[in-house]
């Protein structure tokens, strides 16, 4: 199991990523959660850091990864990741994403903003851990996270950077 502090070092030292970049602050948590789980991974909303890293780590572990993206431009930048183990799909609406199945990790970082809580609720009983990005209090009026987060038995907030990341679970405690 990789702790978050260790994962920070991996991101900085091995991948050469600057964690002060808003789009990268979830990476230590993603890597740590990935190391604590063993089944399929779901990524809602793709990214320049999350998609490559989840792709390679899942491929190495022979785990299936499903990435859904509603923004055509973002999709064009990640569609080449498609493999037997990694499904990369463009959807007009996340209603089209079939996500009601068991997941080791679900990563929530998609748009539109209000859609995030809808999909968190959809996967809540299926996921060991749900990792949500942009969970600092200030933009809560954009995402409406706070009400939904109350429904989870376990919650852990990673607040080291300006942009926060939260781990949720109804099944497993964060240790």
């Amino acid at each position: 199991m990789i702790g978050v502090d260790e994962a920070e070092n991996i991101v900085r030292e091995r991948f050469g990523i600057d964690l002060s970049d808003t789009g990268s602050t979830h990476l230590p948590v993603l890597i740590s959660v990935l190391s604590r789980t063993c089944c399929d991974v779901l990524e809602l909303g793709t990214g320049k850091y999350s998609t490559p890293i989840l792709h390679e780590l899942c491929e190495a572990q022979k785990r299936r990864l499903f990435s859904y993206e509603s923004n055509r431009s973002y999709y064009e930048k990640v569609k080449h990741f498609q493999t037997e183990l990694h499904s990369v799909e463009h959807v007009k609406s996340f209603d089209q994403a079939n996500i009601e199945q068991d997941w080791g990790l679900v990563f929530i970082d998609h748009a539109p903003a209000k859609r995030r809580v809808v999909d968190i609720e959809r996967v809540s009983v299926y996921a060991d851990y749900i990792v949500c990005h942009d969970t600092e209090p200030e933009p809560d009026y954009i995402y409406d996270y706070s009400e939904t987060f109350k429904n989870f038995l376990y919650r852990w907030d990673y607040t080291k950077f300006e942009t926060h990341t939260t781990v949720l679970s109804v099944r497993r405690e964060w240790e």
Binding site: K48, A60, Q61
Partner: protein, 80 residues
């Protein structure tokens, strides 16, 4: 010295991130009508795709059907 699986995975991730950036710049240039710049970024993209394929092949040879645990520090080797 032969690269370890972890080193190959790390390099692949770095190449992927560069590729994302280059594809982004290529699309941006094309959208703005800067076709020469878009063409240049396309060449960089091809180069990176070549590196990616080479790394993928090397990793595939090393791992085969094996499961590779995410490694930290100096730990290395294949584990189930």
């Amino acid at each position: 010295m032969e690269k370890t699986a972890t080193e190959l995975i790390d390099e692949l991730i770095i190449v992927h991130i560069k590729l994302y950036h280059v594809i982004d710049k290529k699309h941006e240039a094309a959208d703005m009508g800067f076709m020469e710049e878009a063409g240049y970024q396309g060449i960089v993209e091809d180069t990176l795709n070549g590196q990616r394929s080479a790394l993928k092949n090397a990793l595939s040879e090393k791992l085969g059907d094996e499961f590779h645990e995410i490694k930290v520090g100096s730990q290395e080797g294949l584990q189930r």
